[in-house]
C-alpha cells in the first residue's frame, strides 16, 4: 500500500506541474481525486488492508489528499495569473489597494504633535467649554470690567454673561479650581474672535495653552520649557527671544520670537525681513489669577503660555492662507496623507 501511495504522490505532483491550461489541470484533478480517480481507488482499497495497518495507511492517504489538493490550488492560481500559461507579465501595471487612504486634518495633527511633546515633559491635557462665562474668559483672568484690555480680543457675545471663548486661557482657572499644585497641563482647543477673515485671520481657530504651577517656578523655567518645545517641534538649536508684552493674566508677560524657520534669522518674506517669528505669548501667572483660583497668597508661582496652532501648522507646512485650513477642500487635505 505504502508503495502505491508514494508512486501516486510522485506521479500526481508531476502531472499537476505539467498541466499548462485550466482545462488540462481539471482533467488531472478528475483523474486523481474524481469519483473514479486514482486516489479514490486507493481509498476504496483500504478495506482490504489488514486491521493493524489500516490506521497508518488511512492517515497516509489523507495526508496525500491534502498535498495533492494544495498543489492543484497553487497550480490553478499560477495558471490564472499567467494568462494562458505565459509568464510575460507587464509588471509596471498599477496596483490596487482595497481602500484609498484618507487623511487626518493637518491642523488637528499638529495639535496632537504638540500635545505629544508636552506629554513627554510630564504634562496632562485638559479641556474646557467653548461657550464660556464672561467670568472665566475675562474677569477671573484679571481683565478689569470695561477696560480697553478687553478690546484686544474682539468677542462674540451670546448674552450678558456668556460668550464664545476668545482664548484657551479660561481653562487655566477652571483647572486650578479643581487641582492643587504642583500641576502641569496643556489645554488645546477651538477659540473664537470677531475678526474679519483674511489670509492670516479666521474667526474660528485653534490655540494651545500651557500652565505649570509649583512653589518656586520662575521665568527661567518658562524659558527652558519654551526652548525645549521649540527645539523638539521645529528641530535643532533655534534662537529665541523674549519681548516684554502685556496680557492681563500674566506678569511679567512676554511674546516669544524664534529664529525664522525659513531663513534662520537672515530675514525673508516669511518673517517680514526681521529674522524672527512670533510664536507665542507667555508669562508668569498673575497673582490675581491665583486669587481667583482660590490659592493662598504667595503660596505658588507659575507660568502660562499660549500658541496659535493654525499659525504653527502654517509655518510647518508653508501654508500661506489660514482659510485653507477650514475650507476642507480634498485637494488640500489629500496632500497630508500619512501625516498623523
Amino acid at each position: 500500500m505504502q508503495e502505491a501511495i508514494d508512486r501516486l504522490r510522485a506521479e500526481g505532483l508531476s502531472r499537476i506541474a505539467q498541466a499548462d491550461s485550466p482545462d488540462a489541470l481539471e482533467s488531472v484533478r478528475v483523474g486523481l481525486l474524481g469519483r473514479k480517480g486514482e486516489l479514490t481507488g486507493l481509498l476504496r482499497g483500504l478495506k482490504d488492508v489488514s486491521d493493524d495497518q489500516r490506521p497508518a495507511a488511512g492517515a497516509a492517504l489523507n495526508q496525500l489528499k491534502l498535498e495533492l489538493t494544495a498543489a492543484l490550488e497553487n497550480r490553478t492560481g499560477d495558471l490564472a495569473g499567467a494568462g494562458a500559461g505565459s509568464m510575460d507579465l507587464d509588471l509596471t501595471l498599477p496596483g490596487r489597494a482595497p481602500v484609498q487612504l484618507g487623511t487626518a486634518h493637518p491642523l488637528l495633527s499638529v495639535l496632537e504633535e504638540i500635545c505629544d511633546i508636552f506629554y513627554g515633559m510630564g504634562y496632562d491635557r485638559g479641556d474646557g467649554p467653548e461657550v464660556e462665562l464672561d467670568y472665566y474668559n475675562f474677569t477671573a483672568l484679571n481683565f478689569p470690567d470695561d477696560h480697553p484690555a478687553r478690546d484686544i480680543q474682539d468677542t462674540f457675545f451670546l448674552n450678558e454673561d456668556m460668550l464664545l471663548r476668545t482664548q484657551t486661557s479660561p481653562v487655566q482657572v477652571r483647572t486650578m479650581e479643581r487641582v492643587q499644585p504642583p500641576l502641569a497641563y496643556v489645554f488645546p482647543g477651538r477659540v473664537y474672535r470677531n475678526e474679519n477673515a483674511d489670509a492670516s485671520h479666521s474667526s474660528e481657530f485653534y490655540q494651545i495653552e500651557g500652565l505649570r504651577v509649583d512653589r518656586n517656578i520662575s521665568l527661567v523655567d518658562l524659558r527652558e520649557t519654551v526652548n525645549a518645545f521649540i527645539a523638539s517641534f521645529f528641530g535643532g538649536e533655534r534662537q529665541t527671544r523674549f519681548r516684554p508684552h502685556f496680557f492681563p493674566f500674566t506678569e511679567p508677560s512676554v511674546e516669544v520670537d524664534m529664529e525664522c524657520v525659513k531663513c534662520s534669522g537672515k530675514g525673508c518674506g516669511v518673517c517680514g525681513q526681521t529674522g524672527w517669528l512670533e510664536i507665542m505669548g507667555a508669562g508668569m501667572v498673575h497673582p490675581n489669577v491665583f486669587k481667583a483660583a482660590g490659592y493662598p497668597d504667595d503660596a505658588y508661582t507659575g507660568f502660562a503660555f499660549g500658541m496659535g496652532i493654525d499659525r504653527i501648522a502654517m509655518l510647518k507646512y508653508g501654508i500661506d492662507d489660514i482659510r485653507l485650513l477650514y475650507e476642507n477642500d480634498l485637494r488640500f487635505l489629500n496632500q497630508f496623507r500619512g501625516v498623523l
Binding site: R125, R241, V254
Partner: protein, 818 residues
C-alpha cells in the same frame, strides 16, 4: 503710536541708528512694528520769478506767463491762478517733475498755447489745503533754489505697538522716558508758560460729580490770530499721519501727541455765560459733533455745557457749536481728567474712537493735566499771537490723594524671575525708569520688604508688587542674568486620558479606511437647522445666537454636525472630487436645551449649554448601488465600519433598525446602542427631502456617535486558550419567508447550534426564479470547532438537525432541496 524721531530728539538724546534704537525699544516692550521714512520732497520744483504775465489770448481766466527759474532764460507757462502777477517769486514745477498724487508735469498745449511746467499752489504740493491760488514766496530767494531747501522735510517714524496697560507710551514724552532709561540719560521737558495771577478770564467751572471728572482746568487766551501753524509743527504732525488744520487746532493736537494729554479749545465768543459745567446730559438729545455728524447722546453721558447746553462730549469730541473757526479770536482751553469708564462707554456706543477718547479710556495722567495746558499756552503765545489770561481755573477732586508707595520684596522678584539680584541692583533698575525708591532693608529673604517705591502719576499701571517685578525684568533684560530653572521635565511620559486616546485611535484608523477628516464651522444659519426637519421638542431646535455677528444675518451655534458635513461634501463633489467622498469629523455641538452642569462652582455655570462631543462619518456622492438584501452599498459599508470601530475601541456597539432621525430615510436607519442598550448614535441614509432642504444633490449616508455619552472604557484584554483542532464547515441554503429578519434567523441558529458553533456567516441572498413567492434563499456558512479534539461529522450533523428543526418550527425556514 507713530513716533517722529525728529520730535523725540527735542525731548531726549540718544546716539544710535534708528534700527538699533528700534531693536532696543522692542526689547523693552515697545514693539516697533515698522520703521518708516517720511519725506516731504519735490524733486524738480524750484524757485522762479514771474518775468511777465499777460492774459491768455483765448481764455479769460488763464494767464500767459514767462518765468525765470534761474537759468536766465524765460520759460513760457500757462497759469490759472487769480493771484499770479509779474514780479512774484513762485514755486515752479519744471517739465519732468512729479507732484504728490503721482501727478507728472509734462509739456502741454492749453487752448492753443504751449506751456512748459506749472506754477504750484500749496494744495498741489501737499503743503496745505489752499488750492485757490499759487504760493507767493516771501523774501528774496536765489532763483533755481530747490523747493526742498525751503519746505522739504525728512524724518524717520517708528510705528510702535502700545499695549493697553501703558497709556503713557501714547506720547512722545512717554517714549522719551523709555529711551532715557535705555541709554541711561535724562528727559528734557518742553518749554511751558504758566499764566499769571489776576483779571481777565473770569470763567468758573462746576463739576457735578468728581467721580465722573476728578479734575478740570480751564485757561483763557485772547488776541488769537488763526492762521497756519509753523512749518516744523505741520511737518511733525504730517510725519505721524495727522493733517494740519490751523495753528490753534494743530497746537492742541501737537500737545496731545507730545505729552499724551488731550486738550480742547472752545471759541469763547461762541460760549454762553461764564460757567463751564461738567455734568451728565440729563436727557436724551441729538447733538452735532465737530466732525459734522449728528449723534444721539443719552441722559447718562458726561457732557461739558455752557449756559445754553452741551458744547462737548467729555473726553470724546467737541461739538460744532463752539469749535474754533477762522474768525476765532478768544479761546477757552480745556485740559481735564475724565472717568475712563464713562469715556469708554460713550465712545463705544457712538462708535466714535478719537485720539482723545483712546487716551482718556486708558486713564489720563493726573499731573499732566495742568502741565499740558501750560505747554499749549506757550505754543499759543509763540505761534498764534495769543495773550494769555490770568485767573485760570483748576478744579480737582478735593480728596485726591496721590497713590501710596509700593512695597517690594527682592526675594519675591528673584523667585518669579529666577534672578539673584540684591537690593542695590534692584533699586538701580527701578530708578532708571524715573521711579523714586526708598531702601528699607538689604536682607533678601522671605517676606522682608526691601524697597518702598513711589509711583509717579504717569505710571498708574503700577498697582502692586508684581508690576514692579515686571519693570525689573524689563529693564534688566530677559536674556541676561537669569539663573537656573527647576528643570522642565516633571514626570516623563504622561499618558493620554481615555477620551484623547480614543480621538487619536479614530484619527489614525479612519483615514486607513478611506475617510478624510474635516474641521467644520461652529456657526450655522437657521436654514441649516430647519433643513434637518426636526420634530417639535427636539433638543437641537434651540440654538444659541451670536449677539454681534459679523455679517448682519442671524448666526447660530450648531446643534448638529450634519449641515457642516453636507456643506463640505457638496463643495468637494461640485469641484470635481472623485466620488464618493468619505469624510469624518470629531466635534462639539451646543445644546442650550440639553443637560446642564451638575456640579458648579459658580451659579452662572448652569447657564452654559451642553456641549456633546460627537463623531460623525459619512459617504456622499455614491453610485446608489445595492448590496446584499437590497441595502445600499454605502450603508452596508458604514454599518461595517461601525462594527469594526466597535472592535477598534473595544467598546460593544450594536445597530438596531429604528427610525430615529427625521432627516434620514424611514426604514433605512439604525439606532446605535451601547452595551447597556442605551442609544449612543444613529446611522442611515439622508432623506431626499432633507437633502433638498440642505441643498445636496447627491446620495449621502452617515453615522453619528455621541462619544461623550458612550462609556469608552475598553473591554479588558485577557488571553483565552484557543482550539488548535480543525473546524468543520457546513454551508446551508435556506428558504426564508420575507417576514423573517436575518436577526431572528441568526438568533435561532446561535441558540440551537450549541457551544461548538464558532461562527455564522451570511454569504448570499437570492430571490426570484426557482424560489417560492414571498421567500428568499439565504446562503449561510456555519463553522464548528471543538476545544477537545477533532469533531466527528456525526456530532455536527446532530447539531445541524437541531438547528434546522428549530428554524422550521419557529420561523418556518426550510432547507432548500437541490
Amino acid at each position: 503710536m507713530k513716533i517722529s524721531l525728529d520730535w523725540l530728539a527735542d525731548l531726549v538724546s540718544w546716539d544710535d541708528t534708528p534700527q538699533d534704537l528700534a531693536t532696543k525699544l522692542t526689547a523693552a516692550g515697545l514693539n516697533v512694528e515698522e520703521i518708516g521714512e517720511y519725506a516731504q520732497s519735490w524733486p524738480g520744483v524750484v524757485v522762479a520769478k514771474v518775468v511777465s504775465c499777460e492774459r491768455h489770448p483765448d481764455a479769460d481766466k488763464l494767464s500767459l506767463c514767462k518765468v525765470d527759474a534761474g537759468s536766465g532764460e524765460s520759460v513760457q507757462v500757462i497759469c490759472g491762478a487769480p493771484n499770479v502777477r509779474e514780479g512774484l517769486q513762485v514755486l515752479f514745477a519744471t517739465v519732468g517733475s512729479v507732484l504728490p498724487g503721482d501727478f507728472k508735469i509734462k509739456k502741454a498745449k492749453i487752448r492753443g498755447v504751449e506751456s512748459f511746467g506749472m506754477i504750484c499752489s500749496g494744495a498741489e504740493l501737499g503743503l496745505d489745503s489752499d488750492a485757490a491760488g499759487i504760493i507767493e514766496l516771501e523774501g528774496d530767494h536765489a532763483l533755481g533754489t530747490p523747493a526742498d531747501d525751503l519746505f522739504g522735510h525728512r524724518d524717520t517714524v517708528l510705528d510702535i505697538e502700545v499695549t493697553p496697560n501703558r497709556p503713557d507710551w501714547l506720547s512722545h514724552l512717554g517714549v522719551a522716558r523709555e529711551v532715557a532709561a535705555i541709554y541711561r540719560t535724562k528727559v528734557t521737558p518742553p518749554p511751558v508758560l504758566k499764566p499769571g495771577q489776576g483779571g481777565g478770564f473770569g470763567w468758573k467751572v462746576e463739576i457735578e460729580d468728581y467721580d465722573d471728572c476728578p479734575r478740570y482746568t480751564a485757561h483763557g487766551a485772547d488776541d488769537v490770530a488763526i492762521g497756519p501753524a509753523p512749518r516744523w509743527m505741520q511737518n511733525r504732525l504730517r510725519a505721524i499721519g495727522q493733517r494740519p488744520v490751523n495753528n490753534v487746532v494743530d497746537i492742541t493736537n501737537y500737545v496731545l501727541f507730545e505729552l499724551g494729554q488731550p486738550l480742547h479749545a472752545f471759541d469763547r465768543e461762541r460760549l454762553a455765560g461764564e460757567v463751564i459745567s461738567v455734568r451728565r446730559a440729563g436727557r436724551k438729545q441729538s447733538v452735532a459733533t465737530l466732525d459734522d455728524e449728528s449723534r444721539q447722546i443719552l441722559a447718562e453721558d458726561l457732557v461739558i455745557t455752557d449756559g445754553d447746553g452741551p458744547v462737548a462730549l467729555a473726553g470724546v469730541m467737541g461739538l460744532a457749536n463752539s469749535q474754533v473757526t477762522e474768525g476765532t479770536s478768544t479761546i477757552l482751553l480745556e485740559s481735564a481728567f475724565f472717568s475712563p469708564r464713562l469715556v469708554r462707554v460713550c465712545s463705544r456706543r457712538l462708535g466714535l474712537v478719537s485720539e482723545s477718547s483712546y487716551r482718556f479710556e486708558r486713564e489720563a495722567d493726573w499731573e499732566m493735566v495742568r502741565f499740558a495746558a501750560h505747554r499749549a499756552l506757550h505754543l499759543l503765545q509763540e505761534f498764534a499771537g495769543a495773550t494769555i489770561l490770568g485767573d485760570a481755573v483748576d478744579r480737582a477732586y478735593p480728596d485726591y490723594v496721590a497713590p501710596e508707595g509700593l512695597a517690594l520684596r527682592v526675594h519675591q522678584a528673584n523667585r518669579v524671575l529666577g534672578t539673584d539680584l540684591d537690593m542695590e541692583q534692584t533699586a538701580d533698575l527701578l530708578q532708571l525708569l524715573g521711579l523714586k525708591v526708598q531702601p528699607l532693608s538689604s536682607q533678601i529673604e522671605g517676606k522682608t520688604v526691601n524697597l518702598m517705591v513711589e509711583v509717579p502719576s504717569f505710571r498708574r499701571d503700577l498697582k502692586q508688587e508684581i508690576d514692579l517685578v515686571e519693570e525689573i525684568a524689563r529693564v534688566h533684560g530677559f536674556d541676561q542674568g537669569l539663573g537656573q530653572g527647576t528643570g522642565h521635565v516633571l514626570i516623563p511620559g504622561r499618558r493620554r486620558a481615555l477620551r484623547h486616546e480614543v480621538e487619536r485611535k479614530l484619527r489614525s484608523w479612519l483615514p486607513s479606511q478611506g475617510y478624510t477628516e474635516i474641521v467644520t464651522s461652529t456657526f450655522v444659519a437657521r436654514s441649516d437647522i430647519d433643513g434637518l426637519g426636526l420634530a417639535e421638542g427636539d433638543v437641537r431646535l434651540e440654538c444659541l445666537a451670536v449677539l454681534n455677528p459679523q455679517h448682519g444675518g442671524e448666526t447660530l451655534l450648531r446643534t448638529s454636525l450634519v449641515p457642516g458635513f453636507v456643506d463640505v461634501a457638496r463643495r468637494n463633489l461640485n469641484s470635481g472630487a472623485p466620488a464618493p467622498v468619505r469624510l469624518f469629523q470629531i466635534g462639539r455641538v451646543f445644546w442650550p436645551a440639553g443637560e446642564k452642569a451638575q456640579e458648579v462652582r459658580h451659579e452662572q455655570e448652569r447657564l452654559l449649554p451642553e456641549e456633546p462631543w460627537l463623531l460623525q462619518m459619512g459617504i456622499a456622492g455614491g453610485s446608489g448601488g445595492k448590496g446584499l438584501g437590497g441595502i445600499p452599498t454605502d450603508m452596508q459599508e458604514l454599518r461595517g465600519v461601525v462594527a469594526e470601530l466597535s472592535g477598534l475601541l473595544r467598546v460593544p456597539l450594536s445597530l438596531i433598525p429604528a427610525d430615529v432621525e427625521p432627516y434620514l430615510i424611514p426604514g433605512l436607519q439604525w439606532e446605535i446602542r451601547d452595551a447597556g442598550g442605551n442609544r449612543v448614535g444613529v446611522a442611515g441614509q439622508i432623506d431626499s427631502g432633507a437633502a433638498k432642504r440642505l441643498d445636496l444633490d447627491h446620495v449621502a449616508g452617515l453615522v453619528e456617535l455621541d462619544l461623550g455619552r458612550l462609556d469608552l472604557t475598553p473591554l479588558p484584554v485577557r488571553y483565552e486558550p484557543f482550539s488548535r483542532f480543525p473546524a468543520v464547515k457546513r454551508d446551508l441554503s435556506l428558504l426564508v419567508p420575507d417576514t423573517v429578519t436575518y436577526a431572528q434567523l441568526d438568533a435561532v441558529v446561535r441558540d440551537t447550534a450549541g457551544d461548538l458553533l464558532e461562527s455564522l456567516e451570511l454569504f448570499d441572498i437570492y430571490a426570484g426564479k426557482g424560489i417560492d413567492d414571498g421567500h428568499s434563499a439565504y446562503g449561510i456558512r456555519l463553522k464548528f470547532r471543538s476545544a477537545k479534539g477533532n469533531l466527528k461529522g456525526k456530532t455536527v450533523d446532530m447539531a445541524l438537525e437541531r438547528t434546522l428543526g428549530a428554524l422550521s418550527e419557529t420561523l418556518a425556514v426550510r432547507q432548500r432541496t437541490q
